[in-house]
């Protein structure tokens, strides 16, 4: 058992970090709640207390915010479904060790080390309606009718950003799945094979249930990432983004840049609540699916 003196010293170990983290992260987080109840523009010396009206406006009377929320949820759904499925598929195909699979794993992981702005510029060129890679390729193989304006198409723009996001991070999620798959005892597959299970049935009855913890992890992380997709959107869409590409994080930033600091703080509060709500829903769903 640690002596009291040792405990005291151990506590001192944490003090520098507690001071910085408390002072420059937790304290502002709490101050944010205060700013959310004012009409402060961010630079004037005075401001008025407006109570909860910012918060109620954000929730009930703000088309820009609602638009950003809708875009963010579309983006979230597309990325979570697309990225999870792709990561699992790649992991299943690459779980066995071989020289080729090690090399491919390394390649698929590579985009993760790039900066979001770099990834944004790469995809900006892929999507360029006139000179971009996507339309050039489609044209070259005679599939002109599938050519599209991509980011220029307000209704689907956010989904094209989702594709870029999946390209960016699927390799990272693949690694988590590979770790999960490698923990499955080989006997389970042997038993399934003895029972005459084909490859799909092995996946369905062994791999899928056994990687449930990895799936939960991948979905939780992807969800948080989708809410944070700020850099990628600004890189692809410019600052401030058009309404079809506006998400919650960019909306908060734009509101703030327009000298509505109090209102932006209120949007941040609702942003946190939205994240908490989605996380809660996912936990519930996970419990329902896995008992």
């Amino acid at each position: 058992m640690t002596s009291l003196r040792t405990r005291g010293t151990l506590f001192l170990f944490a003090v520098p970090a507690l001071i910085l983290y408390g002072g420059f992260f937790l304290l502002p987080a709490v101050q944010g709640l205060r700013y959310a109840t004012t009409d402060w523009d961010g630079y004037s010396s005075t401001f008025n207390d407006v109570g909860l009206s910012n918060l109620t406006d954000v929730v009930s009377d703000d088309d820009l915010f609602r638009n950003a929320l809708t875009n963010n949820l579309k983006f979230l759904l597309a990325v979570v479904v697309g990225q999870t499925a792709l990561a699992l598929l790649l992991a299943v195909l690459l779980a066995a060790r071989s020289r080729a699979s090690t090399a491919l794993r390394a390649l698929f992981f590579l985009p993760t080390v790039l900066s979001s702005v770099s990834v944004a510029f790469i995809w900006k060129f892929v999507y360029d309606p006139n000179f971009g890679l996507a339309n050039s390729l489609l044209g070259a193989v005679g599939l002109d009718r599938f050519q599209s304006a991509y980011l220029g198409d307000e209704a689907t723009a956010i989904l094209w950003v989702a594709v870029a996001q999946v390209w960016f991070h699927a390799g990272q999620m693949m690694v988590i799945y590979i770790a999960g798959i490698n923990q499955i005892p080989p006997e389970l597959y042997e038993a399934a094979k003895t029972d005459g299970a084909g490859r799909w049935q092995q996946f369905r009855h062994v791999t899928w249930p056994m990687v449930a913890p990895a799936t939960a992890l991948v979905i939780a992380y992807t969800t948080l990432q989708s809410f944070k997709a700020f850099d990628l959107i600004l890189g692809l869409a410019g600052n401030p983004p058009r309404s079809g590409l506006d998400v919650l994080a960019t909306r908060i930033y734009t509101t703030f840049a327009n000298s509505q600091l109090g209102y932006a703080a209120a949007e941040s509060v609702i942003f946190m609540i939205a994240i908490a709500a989605v996380t809660l829903l996912q936990n519930r769903a996970a419990r329902m699916v896995h008992g």
């Binding site: 058992m1 040792t6 405990r7 010293t9 151990l10 506590f11 170990f13 944490a14 970090a17 507690l18 910085l20 420059f24 992260f25 937790l26 502002p28 987080a29 944010g32 700013y35 961010g42 790649l90 195909l93 491919l104 390394a106 698929f108 993760t112 080390v113 790039l114 900066s115 979001s116 702005v117 770099s118 510029f121 900006k124 060129f125 892929v126 360029d128 000179f131 890679l133 050039s136 390209w167 990272q172 690694v175 988590i176 992890l217 992380y221 809410f227 944070k228 700020f230 850099d231 890189g235 410019g238 994080a249 908060i252 930033y253 703030f256 703080a265 941040s268 946190m272 994240i275 996380t279």
Partner: protein, 266 residues
């Protein structure tokens, strides 16, 4: 079937990267005329423009400066907390850990506005010092999470043996915890380097002075200036990404471990 899927995805990763690197040696008309071809008469004009006119070397220097201080400091502070979490009795340990874990659920976008006000008031905005400080506090929770997760799995006897010799916790931190946690520290370091190197949010919020820009911010400024002059954008991408990609090539296993640990815990 397996080969087909893997082959297609490999092309999806490789082709855009090859086009980017090749494009950085082309003129805009050549890029548009043949995006996939090798540069016919490779030009270094884009690199001259980016490095000289845009002062990317200065920007690169800023990024290096920020990361070379923010990462070691975060590691030091985070590992001290992790050590305390691993060694303190149950309840104090849990409380300490919970304080930092709470930060994991709060995305930077939710606290950036009050932080802006605070840093402005303290005169820390528009300074690399402020950027270093904010990097440290924002990533401390992840660092504590990864490192405490590791240090908690080490047997208490390991620490106690060192302390029996009359050495205090400081000695057992330095002589036992740090050397034994080396793989975990390396993974955390890489996670932090990638996070701090690539961050756009805080530089965008804090830095006004062009001389103090870091790479992602300078790169974002390109977009406004060059619009669809893709070869220049691509050159910026190559310059900004090369250090990370080279490091990844040599330290691949550490990168995968680090970034995945950060994902799992962040």
């Amino acid at each position: 079937m397996r080969r087909f899927v893997l082959g297609v995805y490999a092309l999806l990763i490789v082709v855009p990267l090859v086009v980017i690197v090749g494009g950085s040696f082309k003129t805009t008309p050549e890029l548009f005329a043949s995006p996939f071809g090798l540069p016919k008469s490779p030009t270094l004009d884009n690199y001259t423009t980016v490095l000289a006119k845009q002062d990317m070397l200065g920007v690169l220097g800023n990024s290096l400066f920020v990361v070379s201080i923010s990462v070691p400091v975060t590691l030091l502070l985070g590992s001290l907390v992790a050590f305390a979490v691993a060694r303190l009795p149950r309840w104090p340990s849990r409380i300490l850990f919970a304080i930092f874990a709470a930060g994991l659920a709060v995305p930077a976008q939710a606290v950036m506005i009050p932080q802006y006000v605070q840093f402005e008031r303290l005169g820390l905005r528009n300074s690399l010092t402020g950027l270093i400080l904010v990097n440290i506090v924002v990533t401390l929770p992840v660092a504590v999470f990864i490192l405490a997760g590791f240090m908690r799995t080490l047997p208490a006897e390991l620490y106690e043996a060192a302390e029996l010799d009359g050495a205090g916790p400081w000695a057992s931190y330095r002589r036992i915890a740090v050397p034994v946690s080396y793989p975990s520290l390396a993974a955390t370091a890489i996670f932090l380097i990638v996070m701090h190197w690539n961050d756009l949010l805080y530089p965008l919020l804090f830095i006004d002075d062009p001389d103090k820009r870091t790479l992602p911010l300078a790169l974002l400024d390109f977009q406004g200036e060059y619009l669809t002059e893709y070869p220049l954008l691509f050159t910026g991408v190559v310059v900004a990404s090369l250090p990370m990609v080279l490091a990844y090539a040599f330290l691949q296993r550490h990168f995968v471990a680090g970034i995945t640990a950060g994902a799992v815990k962040g």
